[in-house]
Amino acid sequence: MGEEILRVENLKTYFFTEAGVVKAVDGVSFSVYEGEPLGIVGETGSGKTVTSLSIMRIVPPPGKIISGRIIYRGEDLLEKSEDEMRKIRGKKIAIVFQDPNSSLDPLFTVESQLNEVIMAHLKVTKQEARNRALELLKMVRIPDPEARLKAYPHELSGGMRQRVAIARALANEPDILIADEPTTNLDVTIQAQIIELLKELQSKLKMTLIMITHDMGLVAETTKRVVVLYAGSVAEIAPTNEIFKSMRHPYTAALLKAVPRIDRRKELKPIPGSIPNLIDPPSGCRFHPRCPYVIQRCIEEVPELEFTDQRAVACHRWKELSLKGE
């Protein structure tokens, strides 16, 4: 494992809506190590995307980062000015969004969208930027890259668009690439190709990859370590190969039971109940209304994230439970 490159400490990002304060991210902490592929997994509304937007400091209003620290190479990103932040976005930390159909500006060609990122951070001539753009398209395996440079987004397929989005994120060889559900809006066959590409690029460029997803299969395939989020806080952090064998948080176990697996013929068990209302979250452990192992203490006391060897878990009873995924 490399050096710690990014550390999120007790991050709180709230949305101040008319209905009340939505605590989308409420005390999330985790570390990312250089060169590692890390997964962040959770249901819709667990705070995955908001966490990634908070790292980039592009949380849209009415959202606001309330407190916490985001330490990138020893410096707190939350204390940077907007100008300093702009130099980090797209240069040091880049992000690939969920929907390639809407993450590219429909009015500009692939070339000008790539040039825009390159020239935002480097002083290069148009010709140099063009060469770099061409190189990037080759890197993400776009066939006939010269012709594609002139193409508009609507002339490309979904998979191609996502490749362009990835190329754009990689344009300045960022330290950290955040991929926010990069395959959700793609066909299954294209999903596999994009995942292959990300894996390959990750190992080739020794890039730190933060893979945000709700898909446990994707986590298993692409990551070495995984952070499980539930209702805006961390439930469990563990190496990926261990979590499938021995999960410590009941939520992780429930999550894995809800995933189809080809090697086990078992009925899928959906998690009972639904994700809690984040304006007025449950007391104590946020998972307690849906947890089969709930005791009085879970309702009264918020469990701390306990670190032991490579893992961390936020559950009062993790030591006494022996959970199985299947």
């Binding site: 937007l53 980039m56 592009i58 849209p60 209003p61 702009r86 130099k87 980090i88 976005r89 797209g90 240069k91 880049a94 992000i95 969004f97 969920q98 929907d99 809407s102 993450s103 590219l104 500006d105 429909p106 009015l107 825009e116 990122v117 935002a120 951070h121 012709a147 002139k150 193409a151 508009y152 002339e155 989005a165 754009r168 994120a169 344009a171």
Partner: protein, 302 residues
């Protein structure tokens, strides 16, 4: 064969959005009619003075002793003359330039103000955005025509000194922007949430770059449409102002001619021909605007 196919494909691609818009526009007969009418008015504005036998606001017939000649009788005055001796045909030709100037210049001012305020109020959340929206709403409920009449009366000295049209252009421009601001604000609010704007931000683009390079170009098509319609509205309002006698009597516009003919209603040709021109030009710009709106609307893909 292979290469020619590739070439063809390339050609199709370079046939950009503009070509697509033109193809859709061309199929719309009303839009083409609008384009022809606007083209006719523009042609008159540019070349009208070459075809006009007499200079504007001159009284050639008066010197010959003839007054209020009906049309189609004396071919040196094909559309007749006003009682004051003004040649209707020359006057109409030379008014086109002034009418078009008022329509276009006032629209340009309105678009500049409306676009700026609309985008700014849509993009900035919080107090400044709300304030700009409030200003827009105040301007939206002002009775524009009454204000214009008021101002042209206040500035009557300037109007009489030959600044008449410029004053009208300024007033029309300054009061004509709220509708444009409303539309651009709505579009900006929609685009601000779009993923590609977020993505651009996440790649390190500055606020001004997002505004000018990504938001403004993406709201251009509704702005083009409303600007075209505003040109028609401005020509019409100018005609109303001049007809009511608040214009500059020394500058020829179609509205001014209506005013000339107002006191001589039995000499129908004095008002009829400029009236037709007002109808043609405003109808033309309206049809053109509607056609553009249809052609530029991405929801109506073929």
């Amino acid at each position: 064969m292979e290469t020619s196919n590739k070439k063809l494909a390339k050609k199709r691609r370079s046939a950009s959005q503009l070509a697509v818009v033109w193809r859709r526009f061309r199929r719309n007969k009303a839009a083409i009619a609008g384009l022809v009418l606007v083209g006719f008015v523009v042609f008159m504005a540019v070349f009208g003075s070459f075809f006009a036998p007499f200079p504007p606001r001159s009284f050639p017939c008066l010197y010959k002793g003839c007054t209020s000649l009906p049309p189609f009788q004396d071919w040196s005055h094909p559309l007749g003359t006003e009682p004051s001796g003004i040649d209707v045909y020359s006057e109409i030709l030379q008014s086109a330039r002034n009418d078009l100037y008022v329509g276009l210049a006032a629209t340009l001012i309105s678009v500049a103000i409306g676009l700026g305020i609309g985008v700014a109020s849509g993009y900035s959340s919080g107090v400044s955005g709300a304030l700009l929206l409030g200003i827009t709403q105040v301007f939206l409920v002002l009775p524009v025509l009454v204000l214009i009449l008021l101002f042209s009366r206040i500035l009557v000295l300037l109007v009489a000194q030959g600044f008449g049209l410029t004053i009208i252009v300024l007033i029309l421009g300054i009061f004509g922007w709220p509708g444009i601001a409303y539309i651009t604000r709505g579009e900006t609010l929609r685009l601000k949430e779009a993923e590609f704007i977020q993505a651009t931000k996440a790649l390190g683009a500055s606020k001004s770059r997002i505004l000018f390079r990504h938001i403004m170009p993406n709201i251009l098509s509704p702005v083009i449409v409303i600007a075209t319609l505003t040109v028609a509205a401005n020509i019409l309002t100018e005609a109303a102002i001049s007809f009511l006698g608040f214009g500059d009597p020394n500058t020829s516009t179609w509205g001014q001619m209506l005013n000339d003919g107002f006191s001589w209603l039995n000499y129908w040709w004095i008002s009829f021909f400029p009236g037709i021109m007002i109808v043609f030009s405003t109808l033309g710009f309206n049809l053109l605007g509607d056609g553009l709106s249809e052609a530029l609307n991405p929801r109506l893909k073929e």
